[in-house]
Structures are given as structure tokens and as C-alpha cells.
Symmetry: C2
Subunit: 382 residues, 2 copies
């Protein structure tokens, strides 16, 4: 039950500060009068808060940057949020590559770096490759490591709240890896670890194919297919972080793995051989009968998995990424079959971010964390 308490001065200061930052961040720059009007705070309060934010390096007076005022008379002082006051990283650790995105505090991407990794690489080697990519990215962008405010990391597998990979069969040595702790050694700021499909749905909602919907299922189609879901705009991780791991419906205890479905020879493909998979897709496009049959088997399975997700969750929108985003004509059969299976068929669309979805989602999670710290107006019962 909510207790009715008196005001807490330090809490009030934090809230006022967040309110002013939020207002400044929403505009290019603003005068004290404008901030006062938008926030509903008193002029002296706004002045005090802005002064504190300037001291903290988060706000700067615009005239001070631009030199002397050009207009006649004494112009009103203008202030802007210093998005360059800190930086964020969005990292992807996949089976074949590691990737890193660097942004400012507004989430504007100012650099990207990717490196290939052998699918057989053990955890140490994979993490070393990632550290190398990050170091090069920071060096090229001229950003000091100390400027990083948060790092988001996305990877296949079930990720626990503390950043440990509970189960990750796609990457060697991944199950049980304390990924958050390992990466924290390289950074002084918080490191947030998330499942790759979960990161991808966050990314599509931020700047991809799902910006208009809060109830979204993102399907990361691949040899380890998975899904991430937003419910009412919030990431649904599940009780144990395993929500959306729909691929297991066929993977465990059955022979109908994607490697088998996609084989044109009867022999299953290598579980992580995405080039062989791309080859089958290419052959199918060229009209090869066996390849076309293999792709049809794969699509049928994908439709079934997506139908299961849709029936369980009833999203407004399904976004398809991973391989399937590269498949010609995957949307047609998916829409057709979902309309048959589902009592209320969702919209179906392709990823708007492609390969960048997972790292972009990791970046957004880092940005969410920083926004919570800097800008959140705390919600609490009266």
C-alpha cells in the first residue's frame, strides 16, 4: 500500500534535473524561459538545475560555443544537451562474427566495426576478437574508453539477469559462461547482456520495421531459430529468460532439424554452415528442384513455429529477420498460412535493419539503461 510521505529534497532535485534534461534533449536548444514553460518548474528552480547540469558536463550554453552573439541587444542564453558527454556501445557476439556499434548519448551511431570469427572458436578467442573490434572502433572514432556510460551485449542463448549464459548451444563454450562478468573487466561502466532475438525486437521497435507497434514478435530465422517479443512496448523475457526459444519445438528429440530440412543430399548440413544454407537458397532461386523442395520444407517449419508464437502471444506485428529476411517470397507463404492458422492474423513484415538488428538492439538496451539513470522521472505510488 502507498504511504503518504512528505517531500524528499534530494529526490525532488533528481526529478527536476531529469525533467529539465528530458526537455532539453527533446529540442535542439532552449532558453531558460522555454524550459520553464515546458517543464512547469519555477524560473529559479530551472536556473539552479541547469547550473548543476552544466557543472556535470551534461548541458552547455550555446552562445558560449558560438562566440559572441550576432543579434543586436542582449540575446537570451540558449542551452543544449551535450550528447557527446558520454558514449554507448552495442555489441553482437554471433557464431560467425562479432560486431560493435558506438553512439553518443542520443543514440546517434558514430562508428561501427565487425570481425569474422571461426564458428569453432572457443569463448576466450571469441571475446578476444570482440575486444579487438571494440578497441579499434574507439580508436578510429577518437573516443576514450572512460567516456563509455553503458555497454549492451547481445548473443544467442538463454541469458540470466546477472549476464550468465544459462544455455547457449550455438557457440562453443557458451553454456555457463559468465559473459557479463567477463566483459565487465574491459569496461568501467555497466555491461548489460541480452539474448540476440530479444535485442533484435528492441531494435526493430526503435528504428526498424516495428516503430509503429508495441506488440511485436521478431523471428530470427536461422539454424538456431529464436524469437523476441514486445508486449505493450516492453521486452518479454519470460520467467527464466527463455521466452521465444521456439526452435526447440523441433530441435529436441526429433530428427527434423533445419540442417536436415535444408539438405538436398539426405545428409544434414553442418549445424552452423550458413554458406551451405545460402547455397541451397541460391540453387532454389535458380530453379533446382531438390533445393526448392528443401527450402519449402524449411519454410513450412518456419510457418509452424511462427504460428505457434502468434497463437500464444497474439502480437499486432510479426517481423522476420535472420536468413529468412534474405529469402525471396517468404512473406507470401507466411501471411497465407498465418491467415489459415490464426484466429486473428497479425501483420507480417521483413526486418528493417537486417544484419544490424542485433547490435542495434544491444545499443538501445545500453541507451535505455543510461536514460533510466539520467532522465527517468521516477514512478512511485503517492
Amino acid at each position: 500500500m502507498g504511504r503518504l510521505t512528505g517531500g524528499d529534497p534530494s529526490l525532488l532535485r533528481r526529478i527536476n534535473s531529469a525533467v529539465v534534461l528530458h526537455a532539453l534533449r527533446a529540442t535542439d536548444c532552449a532558453t531558460l524561459t522555454e524550459i520553464t514553460r515546458v517543464t512547469g518548474l519555477s524560473r529559479p528552480t530551472v536556473e539552479g538545475v541547469v547550473e548543476g547540469l552544466i557543472e556535470a558536463g551534461l548541458v552547455v550554453e550555446k552562445a558560449a560555443e558560438e562566440g559572441a552573439a550576432r543579434r543586436q541587444g542582449r540575446p537570451a542564453r540558449r542551452f543544449r544537451f551535450r550528447a557527446e558527454a558520454g558514449h554507448l556501445l552495442g555489441l553482437e557476439i554471433g557464431a560467425h562474427r562479432v560486431a560493435a556499434l558506438l553512439s553518443d548519448l542520443d543514440g546517434r551511431v558514430i562508428g561501427a566495426q565487425a570481425r569474422e570469427v571461426p564458428e569453432t572458436a572457443e569463448a576466450d578467442e571469441r571475446l578476444e576478437r570482440l575486444r579487438g573490434a571494440v578497441a579499434e572502433l574507439l580508436r578510429r572514432a577518437g573516443v576514450a574508453r572512460g567516456s563509455l556510460r553503458a555497454v549492451g551485449v547481445a548473443t544467442p542463448g538463454i541469458v540470466e539477469a546477472d549476464g550468465t549464459v544459462r544455455l547457449g548451444t550455438a557457440l562453443p563454450g557458451w553454456t555457463g559462461l559468465r559473459l557479463g562478468e567477463r566483459l565487465s573487466r574491459s569496461f568501467k561502466c555497466p555491461v548489460l547482456v541480452e539474448n540476440d532475438a530479444n535485442a533484435a525486437v528492441v531494435a526493430e521497435h526503435w528504428k526498424g520495421a516495428a516503430t509503429e507497434s508495441d506488440d511485436v514478435v521478431f523471428v530470427l530465422a536461422g539454424l538456431s531459430p529464436g524469437a523476441g517479443s514486445l508486449i505493450g512496448g516492453r521486452l518479454h523475457r519470460g520467467y527464466g529468460g527463455a521466452a521465444g526459444e521456439i526452435g526447440a519445438l523441433h530441435l529436441l528429440g526429433r530428427e527434423v532439424t533445419p540442417e536436415t530440412l535444408l539438405s538436398t543430399t539426405g545428409e544434414p548440413l553442418h549445424p552452423l554452415d550458413e554458406q551451405a544454407v545460402a547455397g541451397v537458397f541460391a540453387q532454389a532461386r535458380e530453379g533446382d528442384q531438390r533445393a526448392r523442395a528443401a527450402v519449402d520444407r524449411f519454410l513450412q517449419r518456419l510457418v509452424h513455429d511462427v504460428a505457434a508464437l502468434v497463437l500464444a502471444l497474439d502480437p499486432e506485428l510479426v517481423v522476420v529477420g535472420g536468413w529468412a529476411a534474405g529469402l525471396d517470397g517468404v512473406l507470401g507463404p507466411l501471411r497465407q498460412e498465418l491467415a489459415r492458422y490464426c484466429l486473428r492474423p497479425p501483420e507480417v513484415t521483413l526486418s528493417g535493419l537486417g544484419d544490424a538488428a542485433v547490435a542495434t538492439g544491444a545499443l538501445r538496451l545500453a541507451l535505455d539503461h543510461v536514460e533510466e539513470q539520467l532522465f527517468a522521472v521516477e514512478q512511485r505510488p503517492l
Copy 2:
């Protein structure tokens, strides 16, 4: 963004009133001193609020009921919440029966009534049967219709927010029925309509098999199987109210309906013939080979559907109700298969409420509504 506003006196009165009611409702009865201590409100505020609640009929002085005080000296006045100040109905409209539960404002059930309905009954007849059951229930309990504060109704099908059945294939004439509006004609209080499996999961969480978990999938196994889910303690309806309608995974465009799976003759059972179904289960228990094979097929399908729900949602707990709750040995295979399929297998248990789950959930939804009106301490940004 939260605006920092001054106090709103009428809002504050409502909040204080809710806080006091909440405190009184949590105890048998309490003195003004006790209420003051528990709520953190001032003594004069508590006195004013209690006076208002007595006028509204929601609170009564205990001594006033019990006659003169028996102890020496002047005893402290004690107050209690009048749970009898209003009543609630929880209604179930099913294929074969309608059922009604009556409770006081604490949700304590004080009467129940059920009537059979032919499965072929059209909507008008079905609703008339329900109205008859309600009238008899109120008469027997001696509760005036005007005492009802909210009515919850649960029924198969996809239910829209306004109480319209968007799609309901299990009951004749159900699709498109403005069920909430139709029933509102019989009551002066709010009528809330919900899907039956959704109501059941709420009921199991309230007083059934799921009281210890906030992340629950309830599977209503039957010829129109469906599921209801709680995520973080809140009902997950889905974007269009269709979440959990997993039965459609096999029903649409395929021949593997439960009626076919459960047939021992090759001819599908009648879609709503639950007696025939019960017959197959009984034969299987008696060792009939064909019946056993039919039940095995049904269980295999149930496991697949439940696995799909579990993989999509990752609940802590799966509660099985409907027919399957009456099946011997359904839990064993379910647990075994979920452990094979699911990366993080949930606990699996049978319904704790059986036949009463759906109507009990409808009652709880009515109670939720009244509690929001009477007891909710509003959550809003500072």
C-alpha cells in the same frame, strides 16, 4: 513526462479513503488509533475518512452491532469493512452449461447455481438460461439485484474489450454477439466479459493451483482447447484478445482435430460431444487398445500445444485444466516431454479448481473491478 503539480484535494480525499478501506479490509476490525498507525495518516484525517465511509455504507462501527460494551471503562471504538455492502457475480457460459457464483465484496462465495444447456442452443436461449440461473441464485441467497456492484462473465472465444465476441466457434450464434451489451440489460452495474481460459488462469492464481506464481499458463484442454496466461501477475490478452488460442495450430486447414484424434472408429466424434470423449477415456482406463491409442494421440497433441506455449512464453508454472484435469496420468507424459522440448522446463500441475475455475475467474475479474473503484491507490508520476 511527469508534470510537477500541486495537490488536488478531491484526489487526496479519494486516496486517503482508499488507504483506510484497504487497511480495514486487511483486518477483522480496527480502532482509529490502529488505522492511524497502519496508514500513516493523521488522526483527524482518519476520523473524517471513516465518517465518510460509514455514511457510504462501506464501514460500520463494531460496538454498534454488538450492543453495549462489556469491558469496564470506555472501550475504544472499533470499525470494520462491510463486505456485505455489495455483491458480485461470476458467470460462466459454456457449451453444455451456464454457471453463476455470488460473493460479497471480499470475494467470499455465498451461493452457486448451474444449469445445463443443450449444445445446440442459440444465443438467446443460452442467455435466457443464464438469466434464470442468476435470478434463482439471487432469490435463494436473499440478495437484491440492486446490491450487485459488478458482474464478470467468461465464455469461449475471442472477446473484444467492449464485450463483443469477435470469434466463438464453440457456441452457436456466438461470433459477433454483443455479449457485454446484452447482459448489461439485466444489470445496473458494470458487466465485464472475458475469454474462459483467461478467466481460469486468474482463478487459479487467486485460489487454485497457481497462488504462488505470477508467470502462469493455464491450459484448458477440451475439444476447443485454449490457454490463458499471466505475465508478471497480469493477464496477457494479446493485441486482439486472441492470445493463447493455441488449439488453432491444428484445427485450421488440417484433419488432425481432437475429434479425429480421439475417435476409435475412424469417424470423428461430434465436435461438442464431451460424453463420447469421456467414454473414450473410460475405455482407455479399462484397457481398450483402440481407446488407449486414441488417448495417446490426444495427449501427444496436447503436449505439442503446451510445448509451443511454454517455448513462446517461458512461464514458471503450467496448470492443466478442462478434460485433461480428469485424465489419469496426463502429468507424467507432459512433464517428460516438456523436459525434452523446453530449454527451461516449467513446473506442471493440475487445476486446483476443476469445473469451478472459469466462473471463479469471472468472479475475480468482477472483484478486481470493484477493488479498482473502491480501493485503488492511484499510481501516477510525481
